[in-house]
Point group: C2
Chain length 278, copies 2
């Protein structure tokens, strides 16, 4: 069965896209069959993996077409399958495009609008074959993110060890809880990934302590984040991770020996090991 994980945090610029791109690349390099879906109208995941989201070379279809396709029509089952693009061996991408920004208003009063992605993936033969399906979300808790939560079984929260980033966690968990109760009772929060980590700062130590204390206090509650943990080791700040996207490459292609590549390979291995235990 495919392990579908949504990577979300409404706080902007915390490392969501960088995490999805590089974890997916590391899993594909280890021989797993991996799919990624770019649910951000900025299309940064699409760009990071070397695909031009808009303009002459843009893909014919994107996740916009999948979400706006009328569920009742015969075409529904086929749209998703013709939207996947191979970005690397073992790695398929469902790209984004700028029109995706309009989806929230376009689907505002459509029935089942929160389950469009989940329904489309159920009909997609290609999606059923993935070992891992990773969803990159925009920096908001709107309809695109809710679609990701409805389609996923797990949530991973990329986060910077900063005060402002910590503020949003409670609201993020509230949204996850709402989707868990109303739309997707299988949803669980697997963990928090600390990105751009600067271990020598006092702030980082305080934020990590705050997080671990909070989640430890939730263990006995009937909440979807009762088993949530902070992944160790964190992803260190490393400028090569910010350089790689300008070449349309994952960190493994750009510089496989740098700290960024090691940290993301470690994280991918942790996730793959976890899965083997299930």
């Amino acid at each position: 069965m495919t392990r579908t994980i949504a990577f979300l945090n409404q706080k902007g610029g915390v490392g969501k896209t960088t995490t999805v791109a590089n974890v997916a690349a590391a899993m594909a390099a280890a021989g797993r069959s991996v799919g990624v879906i770019d649910l951000d109208p900025q299309a940064h995941l699409t760009l990071h993996l070397g695909i031009e989201p808009d303009g002459n070379n843009a893909p014919e279809q994107s996740v916009y077409d999948v979400l706006t396709e009328q569920p009742s029509s015969d075409g529904f089952a086929t749209v998703a399958d013709s939207t996947w693009i191979e970005a690397a061996p073992n790695l398929m991408v469902m790209p984004s495009e700028v029109d995706l920004a309009a989806v929230e208003v376009e689907l505002a009063d459509q029935p089942g609008r929160t389950r469009r992605l989940a329904d489309a993936l159920r009909h997609s033969e290609i999606a059923q074959c993935f070992d891992f399906l990773l969803l990159d979300c925009p920096p908001s808790l709107g309809l695109l993110t809710v679609n990701a939560l409805a389609a996923a079984r797990e949530v991973i929260v990329p986060m910077q060890a900063h005060f402002l980033a910590l503020q949003g966690v409670a609201r993020l968990l509230k949204t996850v809880g709402m989707v868990f109760e109303q739309v997707n009772p299988k949803l669980q929060v697997t963990g928090v990934v600390l990105c751009m980590f600067e271990g020598q700062t006092r702030l980082a130590a305080e934020v990590v302590e705050n997080l671990e204390t909070f989640f430890a206090g939730e263990r006995e509650k009937e909440v979807p984040w009762r088993n949530c943990r902070v992944f160790k080791p964190p992803i260190r700040r490393n400028i090569k991770l910010a350089e790689a996207p300008s070449f349309g490459q994952s960190i493994l292609e750009y510089d496989a020996s740098c700290p960024g590549a090691q940290d993301y390979t470690d994280l991918a291995q942790t996730l793959m090991r976890q899965w083997d235990k299930f």
Copy 2:
């Protein structure tokens, strides 16, 4: 006349809130009368300036009330004036709250929904008295950001010198151009502020060169960004800027001698000097 500046970039986590909070604090410390409006449902600007956005101590009104007040009612003129809160001498805040996230859908088919903020500010006596009015936007180009663009005369783009951040500039300018043509013909893009700058990296040098070349090529065109320039010096990466918000303080209160305080004081002085020349 009040100088109203919108700080926007749909790329998340680039330094929008940090820039508005600290430029406003530096201007207020220099004796100017300053107002700031928090248009982000995350309410980070509100938090950064020491105000609790939700919960028991939350303000009675927020920018949500201003945007959703029916323009035809008598109360319209007074809602804005009862929403300002004094955060420091010479510094007033119009706070955000979590309900703000629903505004895009709530106003989806209301006439004049893009001008709600502009209309409310025109009726606000307090707003007319500000020397500077700074607007902090969420990481998107939706209705909240368009309201800021309709109310402002100027745009400043906080940006990280990273590849992914550079990608969004063209789309941001397209949105500014749209508002300029359809809603607010006075709108101009004043400049780009480079945040979290790591001058020693090759990536930073490449991005700055890219930006300057692009804007130099636009000088002769009839576009609202023809006079846009990259503010110098940039705002250096400085962990104290990320620590200050956890104390509800601006960088000037938290540590007035650190590089972050110097860089933001410099930027505020450049903006104040520019204005004195008009």
